[in-house]
């Protein structure tokens, strides 16, 4: 009775919220108040696929849903990235009928890594994919070991994991579970030394011995080996090879894949999604063909015109240096004959309001030296960002400071080249209102 009432109320709220554009969390939260074990009571006709990890969850989950949908399967999921308990509950109750049965072929869930144990105590995904694990929002998540512990509590003994062979941390999760690995072979963009300051696996996650890397793709993602205990990159069943950054082409199992977002980070996301879809029975050629038609959400990466200048907005996560490093990589890899200006908005810590900007010292701003004409610092922590850029080696005449986002327009007008707006997801709207009113 409570279950049915919770489904009814949740569905009603989701319908109403859909009209108001606020349908992702609240319906599930209310339904869970009525029936706390709602998620355990839902019956699935198909398979439940989950995507978790520090970075790339939303894109990878959307990729998986895209590949399966393109291949004629019915899919439900939290495409907007509402990945906490309320959001997942909303997704499940909306996917199910009034008897609590989800009839889709697949449920594809993006799940916050910190909340995974709270969500998966009610149901177990058939195939969890873990994209990677990095330092991420330390005030909220704690360090990487804390997240590993939480994931171990979330992963049931019988599930088959889909893991990134290039990540020594997430690649070593739940060693007794069966697993499928995906990875990326050395590319023209791979380096002998990590190109980034943030490196969470300098030591072996098993024995604390100093790790050796044959090459890096980014941060601590690459091919590794621990001389002390022998832990090393596992052999991936799905390996991306022959990546061409100029064309966005690469191959998985000999099948050609194309992406319009040719970054190493995204190639790994695509390969992970292909690995997951093939693990549930999709033939490789069909997975690859569908993956090649995927475009990254405009909510994460959007290009538009500002007057006669091209602007690209690249969103990253608050307090997540690796995510920000990826935004910088995107900027660096673009060819702009007229030069580049970066506009960077740094806010306080979004969920607590703390003024700390420690995480800026984990981002490799040094890579901007000699690569941009100007950097415009804005937002509540603009001055702290300017200090960071000074320490990184940018010249004082290159760095413009305007903490008030609303007064940004004349400062931006005084810069040159294509614009690259690097900010956090929650601040995108405020800056867009000013840059292109």
């Amino acid at each position: 009775m409570r279950f049915t009432l919770a489904l009814l109320v949740g569905k009603l709220l989701a319908k109403l919220g859909g009209l108001l554009g606020k349908a992702t969390n609240l319906p599930g939260q209310v339904a869970l108040k009525i029936c706390p074990d709602l998620m355990a009571r839902i019956r699935f006709n198909g398979k439940v696929l989950a995507v978790t990890g520090s970075n790339g969850k939303t894109t990878t989950a959307n990729l998986v849903a895209h590949i399966l949908t393109q291949n004629g399967y019915s899919v439900a999921g939290n495409a907007k990235g509402s990945n906490l308990t309320g959001g997942v509950a909303t997704t499940l109750l909306c996917a199910s009928d009034l008897h609590g049965r989800a009839r889709q072929d697949f449920i594809v869930l993006e799940v916050d890594e910190r909340y995974s144990r709270l969500i998966f105590r009610w149901f177990s995904p058939d195939y969890p994919l873990v994209t990677n694990l990095f330092r991420d929002q330390l005030t909220r998540n704690g360090n990487v070991d804390v997240i590993v512990d939480k994931l171990h509590q979330a992963i049931g003994p019988d599930v088959q994991l889909v893991l990134n062979s290039c990540d020594p941390i997430s690649g070593d999760l739940a060693p007794h579970n069966s697993r499928v690995y995906y990875g990326l072979a050395k590319t023209p963009l791979s380096t002998d030394e990590s190109p980034n300051l943030t490196h969470d696996a300098r030591v072996c996650p098993r024995c604390l011995g100093r790790m050796q890397y044959s090459y890096y793709h980014y941060n601590h993602i690459g091919q590794y080996r621990c001389p002390s205990c022998g832990y090393q990159s596992p052999k991936p069943q799905y390996l991306a090879t022959d990546f061409d950054p100029a064309t966005g082409d690469f191959a998985v199992g000999g099948q050609r894949v194309h992406t319009s977002y040719p970054s190493l980070f995204h190639v790994l996301n695509i390969t992970g999604a292909i690995a997951l879809c093939c693990s549930v029975g999709l033939p490789l050629d069909r997975a690859v063909a569908a993956a090649s038609t995927f475009t990254v959400s405009k909510e994460r990466l959007e290009t538009f015109a500002v007057g006669d200048r091209q602007a690209t907005m690249i969103l990253s996560k608050n307090q997540n240096p690796v995510s920000f490093d990826q935004s910088i990589s995107y900027l660096l890899e673009r060819d702009c004959p007229g030069g580049k200006t970066a506009i960077i908005l740094v806010n306080n810590i979004n969920h607590t309001g703390h003024k700390d900007t420690t995480w800026l010292y984990d981002i490799s701003f040094e890579r901007l030296v000699g690569q941009v004409e100007q950097v415009v610092c804005t937002g509540p922590r603009a001055l702290d960002l300017a200090v960071r850029l000074q320490v990184a080696g940018l010249r004082p005449d290159q760095v413009r400071i305007q903490p008030e986002v609303r007064q940004l327009a004349p400062v931006v007008a005084d810069t040159t080249g294509d614009l690259f707006i690097l900010t956090e997801i929650y601040d995108a709207h405020s800056i867009l209102e000013v840059i292109c009113p």
């Binding site: 330092r135 330390l138 005030t139 704690g142 360090n143 990487v144 070991d145 300051l197 490196h199 300098r202 030591v203 604390l208 100093r210 607590t352 703390h354 003024k355 700390d356 420690t358 995480w359 800026l360 010292y361 984990d362 001055l383 702290d384 300017a386 200090v387 960071r388 000074q390 320490v391 903490p403």
Partner: protein, 257 residues
């Protein structure tokens, strides 16, 4: 006055204890020394290395995961005599965040585990409670002799208990935290202030983590002067000061703890 043309910064356990913007402290010093044409060498030593405090001008140790902190403390303990001699010689040192645990009488790195012996430099014990405490911190520091106002950030799961008999110098008098940091019998509760951190000669230990020296140019300048052995270093810290003062202004209306 010294005319050092080269200084060596020793980052202890850089591979284990690099949790949260720690490199910013080295960047701050490297920046200042570059302005002064002083070659700045960054040396990193970790587990398995023979720690050498004799040939360095500065020692840094930062926060890390509990398992890593434990391994680092066990390793550092093997070099306790050399470390203590370096502290007594006045080698400048900065211990941030959880690294503070290594310097106490004992440290319990995880709830339920037995405490481990620390280096015993200071008269406190620490224990990881698992309870997360996160706070902005403003304070008046007692390290430089200038009583500078500082900003820092604490993010920790450990608690610290000072011995009532402790005569150790405290790093700062707190002006703002979201709640009191530690039980410190030395603090003058009647005067309404509490303390944080500890000082021994030129060693500063504080729970405030991350790039403390960039956030607080007065501390950066003081450390750089100690390291170089001279007072006349060129350091245009106007932008750093502007950033610090802007941050401190945001706390000006808040009630002292």
């Amino acid at each position: 006055m010294s005319d050092k043309r080269e200084v060596t910064l020793l980052w202890l356990y850089d591979d284990l204890l690099d949790l949260y913007g720690d490199r910013g402290n080295m960047m701050a010093l490297q920046y200042i020394f570059a302005q002064n044409q002083i070659n700045c060498v960054l040396r990193c030593q970790s587990l398995g290395d023979a720690l050498d405090f004799d040939s360095c001008d500065f020692v840094y140790m930062g926060p890390g995961k509990a398992r890593n902190l434990q391994a680092a403390t066990q390793h550092l303990r093997q070099y306790r005599p050399q470390f203590m001699q370096a502290v007594q010689r006045g080698v400048p040192m900065l211990f941030c965040g959880g690294a503070v645990m290594a310097l106490g009488q004992s440290a319990q790195f995880a709830a339920g585990r037995p405490p481990e012996e620390g280096l015993g430099l200071f008269a406190y014990t620490t224990a990881d409670s698992g309870e997360v405490f996160v706070s902005d911190v403003t304070a008046i520091e007692r390290f430089t002799g200038l009583d500078l106002r500082t900003y820092g950030f604490v993010n920790r799961t450990a608690a610290q208990q000072w011995s009532a008999a402790s005569a150790d110098r405290r790093f700062c008098q707190l002006l703002y935290t979201s709640r009191p940091l530690d039980c410190d019998p030395q603090a003058d509760s009647a005067a309404g202030f509490r303390t944080e951190g500890a000082i021994c000669n030129n060693l500063l230990a504080t729970w405030q983590l991350g790039p403390l020296l960039v956030k607080n140019p007065g501390l950066a300048r003081h450390f750089a002067q100690l390291i170089a052995g001279r007072q006349d270093l060129i350091f245009d810290d106007s932008l750093w000061q502007q950033a610090l003062e802007a941050t401190l202004r945001e706390f000006s209306g808040l009630q002292a703890i």
